[in-house]
């Protein structure tokens, strides 16, 4: 049996406490030094950042979320004791936990913190696949000699450094593939470190509900339920061909995953397929001027992102959610890809005007897809819009000013609407 102290990182063979520091927080697993695929998930990330930055909040229930009809983005573990959960409407959360302090999300701080965590992870391996700001897969295969320590030690060191240097806690799942690593990180939250070895994979999965499988949502669950499949054990009884015949591609995946087989690689560069931004209004609106301002700002955010990534998009999509939650999406393919706010905005605006739907709307979104490198962007000019090159040049000039003097240094009047 390999043992590891999570506090002082001492490795030893037997004992319930660390021989060096007497800490009881030890990891013991026969395959501890052989597993190298990990999933790191921060504990109540947004709320933890808020508590770190404002020590007054430390012993209070904190809910991060916003707006009069906002939902809970994240809540700290104190709030979770009262039954508050992510994505719960704010009024309901406050009913459950009236003493909670509600904090508006400070996205830029989270992004910055996420970068710091990323930097720590980069020291372990280049094979990092971020899933969101606060979680990522790491593949540490073949790094033992480089670091002079097995992956488990390096991961324990990573979360320790996150606590010491960034004041944040995270949980680690370590296993032999992504599917199991992700499950493992959730087993022992917060401040957890769970290991699922090859030997116990099947026994571990067997009694679990099928819901544990990534990609099994309400719909799939209902379909599985009607086939009498509730647990992984039920799945294991099915023949591969039968699963395929009944559930198609999903069946094939279920067959593999129920056996703990997952051959997906940890992809550093999940290739971007689209860039989009959306906003939900505080109050439903059908005010054309207000919506126009939103379309402009969203187009600008999309264009900024595209420019930062040196990408451009050929298809512009406008998304509208009406007050009754019906979703309208309209898309238009340009003759050549663009990364300019001006073109994205004009296209989205046309789509909006031709959507022929009455508001009020609760959400509006703008996006580009069918991405192409920026070298292919904005090569064609429009005969009927002779001022377009001037506007494009103005936009580039404004970008240069903003790069030097800050985002607010120069903005369009339209953005103020």
């Amino acid at each position: 049996m390999s043992n590891l102290c999570r506090d002082c990182l001492t490795q030893f063979e037997t004992g319930a406490r660390c021989p060096a520091c007497r800490s009881p927080r030890i990891l013991a697993h026969a395959e501890l030094n052989d597993l190298s695929i990990a999933h790191m998930d921060c504990d109540a990330f947004y709320a933890s950042v808020e508590k770190r930055d404002n020590p007054d909040l430390r012993d209070k229930a904190v809910i991060v979320g916003g707006g009069t009809r906002g939902v809970v983005s994240t809540c700290c573990y104190l709030a979770r004791i009262h039954g508050v959960r992510s994505a719960m409407p704010m009024f309901q959360a406050l009913k459950l936990c009236p003493d909670a302090t509600v904090v508006k999300p400070r996205m830029s701080v989270y992004v910055e913190t996420s970068r710091a965590i990323r930097a720590l992870m980069e020291e372990l391996t280049p094979a990092i696949e971020p899933l969101s700001l606060d979680e990522a897969f790491l593949d540490l295969t073949g790094t033992t000699r480089l670091h002079g320590a097995p992956p488990a030690v390096m991961l324990a060191r990573l979360v320790k450094r996150m606590e010491d240097e960034l004041g944040l806690t995270g949980s680690i799942g370590l296993s032999h593939n992504k599917f199991l690593a992700k499950i493992a990180s959730d087993l022992d939250k917060p401040r957890g470190f769970s290991v699922i070895g090859r030997a116990e994979t099947e026994a571990f999965l067997r009694p679990k509900p099928v819901r544990i499988i990534w990609g099994v949502g309400t719909a799939t669950q209902a379909a599985l339920d009607s086939a009498g499949i509730r647990t992984i054990a039920d799945l294991l009884r099915w023949d591969r061909g039968d699963l395929n015949a009944r559930f198609g591609q999903m069946g094939e995946r279920l067959w593999h995953l129920s056996r703990g087989q997952d051959h997906r690689r940890v992809n550093r560069d999940e290739r971007l397929k689209s860039i989009s931004k959306e906003t939900t209004f505080f109050d439903d609106t059908s005010d054309a001027d207000l919506l126009d301002g939103h379309i402009w700002r969203l187009s600008e955010q999309v264009a900024d992102r595209a420019k930062a990534k040196h990408l451009s998009g050929r298809t512009v999509t406008l998304k509208l959610k009406r007050a009754d939650f019906t979703l309208i999406t309209r898309r238009h393919s340009l003759t050549d890809p663009t990364q300019l706010t001006d073109r994205i905005y004009r296209c989205a605006k046309d789509l909006f005007e031709q959507s022929a739907n009455k508001g009020p709307y609760r959400l509006i979104g703008v996006g580009i897809s069918d991405l192409a490198p920026e070298a292919e962007a904005d090569l064609n000019r429009d005969l009927l819009d002779p001022n377009a090159p001037k506007r494009a040049a103005a936009e580039r000039a404004a970008d240069a000013i903003r790069a030097r003097f800050g985002k607010e240094a120069i903005i369009k009047g339209r953005a103020l609407r």
Partner: protein, 372 residues
């Protein structure tokens, strides 16, 4: 209704009607053709609510009447009948079927009541004139390649037919553009057309109209109102709504100060463009034209796929110029030239380029360069 008609005559009359019918439509009656028999004639009427076509043919009418049946099915049946057969159409009101009999073949088709058939409201035409078929054919044929398919700019989805002033007096003018290229075609103004309102004739109408214009000797009666346009031969009447929108002011798009003049054999030019474009990237299709004295070098440099170059002997006496175009646009424009050399007039590599046939100002094309 009961009538008999020669198969060939019937097929011709039905051909135009069935092509107007939309293949995928949700309103059953729109899939049908309205057959009306009276006197010594039978007429076939079909519509997609934007275009209506009415086709007349001589027939031996035994019993006048009217009904509607599936346009596509009736056309298919008639098409498959042997040439020269005499076709009998008879409606059985009791069973609601139309019987088609020819030789030993017998068909019966389900009908829908003629009252359900939407007949396009007739409107007052403010302008009526007649024009020879070859003239209209030229106007639309040379313009239609530039029609836009962009639905967001619906007002470009047709040919703008209007009265204007050309180099030598008033003209009937057809303009089409998609923002990347533009075609402006002029014809002598027919008598009586002077007061015609400008209309945007939709693409589908342009395509349907084409079938009326094949006969060189035909004269087409044209009627125009603010909302509709009608083209009629003695046997076919095509009525269409026009696009409800404002065609952009194209005149400011056509360059007048371009001085660099390239003259080239259009066929040779098109072939060379086509050859070098083979290696261009599928999406941008960029081709570079490098001009110096009496020499044109066409080149493509696509980092992913390769490079190509071809030299052409041309007439060019101005400063050196490098300019890029979408190969597809160049090819389409070059293929409009059928008699003389193509003359290109450039300004700079960022400005619209003008193309015409020799010195003929009655057909002018503009194409926008692209950055290469």
């Amino acid at each position: 209704m009961k009538l008999s008609i020669e198969r060939g005559t019937l097929l011709k009359a039905l051909a135009q009607a069935q092509s107007v019918v939309e293949r995928r439509n949700t309103i059953p009656i729109l899939a049908n053709v309205l057959i009306e028999a009276e006197g010594a004639n039978v007429s076939f009427r079909a519509t997609d609510l934007d275009i209506e076509v009415l086709d007349r043919a001589p027939a031996m009418v035994e019993r006048a009447g009217a009904t509607t049946v599936s346009a596509v099915m009736l056309h298919e049946i008639i098409r498959k009948l042997p040439d020269g057969s005499l076709v009998n159409l008879s409606e059985d009101a009791a069973s609601g079927r139309l019987t088609i009999a020819a030789g030993r073949s017998n068909f019966s088709l389900a009908t829908l009541p003629k009252e359900d058939f939407p007949v396009m409201a007739s409107s007052e035409y403010s302008s009526n004139f007649s024009a020879p078929a070859p003239m209209l054919r030229r106007l639309f044929d040379k313009a239609k390649f530039a029609i836009s398919t962009e639905e967001t700019r619906y007002y470009l989805n047709g040919v703008y037919l209007h009265v204007s002033t050309g180099d030598s007096g008033p003209v009937l003018r057809a303009v089409a553009t998609d923002g990347h290229r533009l075609a402006r075609i002029d014809a002598t103004l027919p008598e009586g057309a002077a007061g015609m309102p400008g209309v945007i004739v939709p693409r589908k109408t342009v395509n349907e109209l084409r079938k009326l214009l094949d006969d060189d000797d035909a004269t087409i009666a044209v009627s125009v109102s603010e909302t509709k346009v009608r083209f009629a031969t003695p046997v076919i009447t095509l009525t269409s709504k026009v696009i409800d929108g404002t065609f952009p002011d194209y005149t400011r798009v056509i360059p007048t100060g371009n001085t660099r003049r390239l003259e080239v054999d259009a066929t040779e030019f098109a072939k060379a463009v086509d050859r070098v474009a083979t290696v261009s990237s599928e999406r941008s299709r960029a081709v570079k034209l490098s001009l110096e004295e009496d020499r044109l070098i066409l080149s493509v440099n696509a980092p992913d796929s390769g490079a190509a170059e071809e030299e052409l002997a041309v007439a060019y006496q101005d400063e050196r110029l490098e300019i890029g175009f979408n190969a597809k646009y160049l090819l389409e424009i070059a293929s409009q030239v059928d008699r003389e050399n193509a003359v290109f007039l450039f300004n700079s590599s960022g400005d619209p380029t003008l193309m015409r046939e020799g010195n003929d100002m009655s057909a002018v094309y503009v194409v926008m360069p692209m950055r290469v």
